[in-house]
């Protein structure tokens, strides 16, 4: 459940709001659930709110996990 997608913070705005970019589409969302966000950071967004920051290093690690799946013969 809970559709949430990765978004890049492109602008910080007053009232704990921010402009984020999601693959070429920009939207204003709320940062009220997070602290200390900066332009250039990635967050995941659900119903117009950033829920958590996305950790790029962990993301790379996860992708490596997939990639080390060498088919056994």
């Amino acid at each position: 459940m809970c559709l949430a997608i990765p978004a890049l913070i492109t602008e910080l705005r007053e009232g704990e709001l921010a402009r984020v970019d999601m693959g070429g589409v920009s939207k204003e969302i709320s940062l009220a659930l997070l602290n200390d966000c900066e332009v250039g950071e990635w967050v995941i967004v659900h119903v117009g709110y950033a829920l958590r920051k996305l950790d790029p290093m962990e993301s790379e690690k996860t992708l490596l996990l997939f990639a080390t799946a060498a088919p056994s013969l």
């Binding site: 459940m1 693959g23 996860t62 799946a69 060498a70």
Partner: protein, 380 residues
């Protein structure tokens, strides 16, 4: 799109499928439950089950907040929507869910009710500010992922001194639902070997609430992301755990899930909400401490308090087998009314109402496949 496309790579998916087939022990079956409706949706939308070996079976769990909401709750929302002067705001998911006699929020709009679809709780708050002469009620649904946004606007309404904004709170809790399907008498118990654990709920509450399903209940649990590669990787990890006789909590979705979760969001939820003693879940029955209501301190924003709503208990259709499907005891196609009388256009029960409900997902994406019914027999 960054952080999405890479997790949808078809070549990696095929390789993972090969590894899964290689690691799955042909002498046993693996029955894995994906709890979240979002995982059900991904499985169906990408046709992932067809990539799995025959002895790995996915059981669809009850993690669809739309599906588990009793008809009485929808009736309460309909009742409010029909009152003159009320603007009812709702997420899109609830607009076509039927209450009694097929009534829906969408249809009530046709009959003159002011029902507005919103994307974010902030939209509902804006509507309240723009229409001080109306009472604006936000129909709040969802698990812990969706609860903090409601908490934010309740506090914001207080800060702004709004007098016309209310929440009809139907937020429900995930660990309680998981217990609900596991804490049943032995005769009704569903055979499940492991869990694809909730992904976005865990970003908020952390992965630690799910540790007890491994340590106390003895099930392998993998907290999983929602992209197809996430799910395939999680299946691989669950199979490994089962092969090695382990029952641990693993976190595949580490790019956004941590053990403790989002403390700020948790604090906001604790400030605004408290536990209901019990709550009726469609298909799962009455579960204790499984849902939230607004604290007394926020009573002025509580639609239940301000409108004196009494909830009707409306039983499901006699032929509906959602209770069994939600617990994983039956597959959608084993229900006699599946795809005959009960369809997404005419849902008899909760599993068909939301696009991520087990029956709706199978109907929309997978009913062309004739899966042989599997029996609920424990693997050796």
């Amino acid at each position: 799109m960054k952080y999405l496309e890479a997790f949808r790579d078809g070549d990696l998916a095929r390789r993972l499928a090969v590894v899964i087939a290689a690691e799955a022990d042909a002498r046993r079956r693996y029955r894995l439950m994906e709890f979240c409706g979002g995982h059900t949706h991904t499985l169906a939308r990408y046709g992932l089950e067809r990539l799995l070996p025959d002895n790995v079976e996915m059981i669809h769990g009850p993690g669809c907040p739309v599906c588990v909401l009793p008809t009485g709750c929808i009736e309460a929302a309909l009742d409010l929507a029909r009152r003159p002067g009320v603007i009812l705001c709702s997420y899109g998911d609830m607009l076509r869910v039927p209450g009694k006699n097929g009534a829906t929020l969408m249809k009530s709009r046709a009959a003159g009710a002011d029902v507005r679809m919103i994307y974010s709780t902030l939209d509902a708050l804006n509507i309240a500010q723009e229409h001080p002469e109306h009472e604006v009620v936000f129909f709040a649904i969802g698990f812990e992922t969706t609860t903090p946004p409601t908490a934010v606007v309740v506090k914001e309404a207080r800060r702004l001194g709004l007098k016309n904004f209310m929440v009809l709170c139907n937020h429900v809790l995930t660990p309680a639902a998981m217990e609900g399907i596991l804490d049943v008498p032995a005769a009704e118990a569903v055979h499940v070997d492991g869990f694809i654990g909730p992904g976005h709920v865990s970003t908020v509450i952390g992965s630690h609430p799910f540790e007890r399903f491994a340590s106390n209940y003895g099930y392998p649990v993998v907290i999983t992301g929602f992209e197809p590669l996430d799910i395939l990787q999680a299946i691989r990890q669950l199979i490994r755990q089962l092969n090695e006789g382990r029952a641990e909590l693993e976190n595949e979705y580490s790019r956004v899930v941590s053990r403790e979760g989002n403390l700020k969001a948790q604090a906001l939820m604790a400030e605004v909400f408290e536990l209901r003693d019990e709550f009726e879940w469609r298909g799962l029955g009455i579960l204790p401490h499984s849902a939230l209501k607004l604290r007394a301190a926020f009573a002025e924003y509580d639609a239940e308090a301000r409108f004196a709503i009494t909830q009707e208990a409306i039983p499901d259709h006699k032929a509906c087998e959602c209770a069994a499907v939600l617990r994983g005891a039956k597959r959608p196609e084993q229900c006699k009314v599946f795809a005959t009388v009960c369809t997404p256009d005419n849902p008899l029960g909760s599993c068909m109402v939301s696009s991520e409900g087990a029956c709706a997902a199978h109907y929309s994406y997978g009913r062309f496949v004739n899966t042989a019914p599997t029996s609920n027999v424990p693997s050796p």
